[in-house]
């Protein structure tokens, strides 16, 4: 299945793009996607736990199973206000 990853703030700087469509196996969880990013981008290697995660614009837990077409965003520490 295919999911769309969105990158914001520090993650966009690290990854070098604002979004990416990725092919993942059925049953992939948000956590699995984070581990994949960690293995691809050295600055993320130290972060074993994913930051807050949003699927289709709502927060989910790291164990949330993804579905085809989902829009996934890892949310670095927020700093609004």
């Amino acid at each position: 299945m295919k999911v769309r990853l969105l990158f914001f703030a520090v993650l966009r700087d690290i990854v070098g793009k604002s979004e990416a469509d990725v092919e993942v196996p059925d049953g992939t969880r948000a956590l699995d996607l984070w581990q994949r990013l960690r293995s691809q981008y050295a600055p993320l290697a130290a972060y074993a736990q994913p930051p807050m995660t949003a699927v289709n614009e709502s927060y989910v837990g790291p164990e949330a199973a993804l579905r085809d077409g989902d829009e996934v965003a890892f949310i670095p520490p927020v700093a609004g206000g």
Binding site: A9, D13, A54, E57, P76, V78, G81
Partner: protein, 138 residues
């Protein structure tokens, strides 16, 4: 209804839209870009957001506040983009017949926005630029 803007925030306009004849209290909170952060000089801040989600999250926060403080009318506007010292990054307006509810609701809105709304800031200092909060995550 949009809670995000790329332009200067007109707080007085928010107040005009909100204030009712039955209100006896008006509380405004503005967040302002300051010239220092954790001992470093700050020259400016860039605000970034996951816009559609930030709109939803702020909307949900305001909806909950309206339920918790039914006498209060509330609105909020957060600015994004490049802001310099002294500029307003967020304005929250709460009006109510009496002051206690307006103070409480206004405090709740800003505290909740800081916790969950996907907005980020990158501080520009004489040493370079840094996304706030990321380095402490480990």
């Amino acid at each position: 209804m949009s809670y995000l803007t790329d332009d200067t925030i007109d707080t007085a306009a928010l107040v005009r839209r909100l204030l009712r004849r039955s209100d006896g209290a008006l509380v405004v909170f503005e967040g302002v870009v300051r010239d220092h952060s954790e001992g470093k000089a700050v020259e400016s801040i860039f605000y970034d957001a996951y816009r559609p989600m930030a709109e939803k999250e702020i909307g949900a926060i305001l909806d909950n506040v309206r339920i918790e403080w039914p006498d209060v009318a509330v609105d909020c506007l957060h600015r994004l983009g490049h802001l310099v010292v002294g500029e307003t990054s967020i304005a929250i307006v709460c009006v109510s017949p009496h002051r206690a509810q307006a103070f409480e609701a206004c405090r709740a809105v800003i505290d909740r926005i800081k916790q969950t709304v996907p907005i980020w800031k990158k501080e520009r200092t004489p040493d370079g630029e840094e996304w706030v909060g990321w380095q402490h995550q480990c």
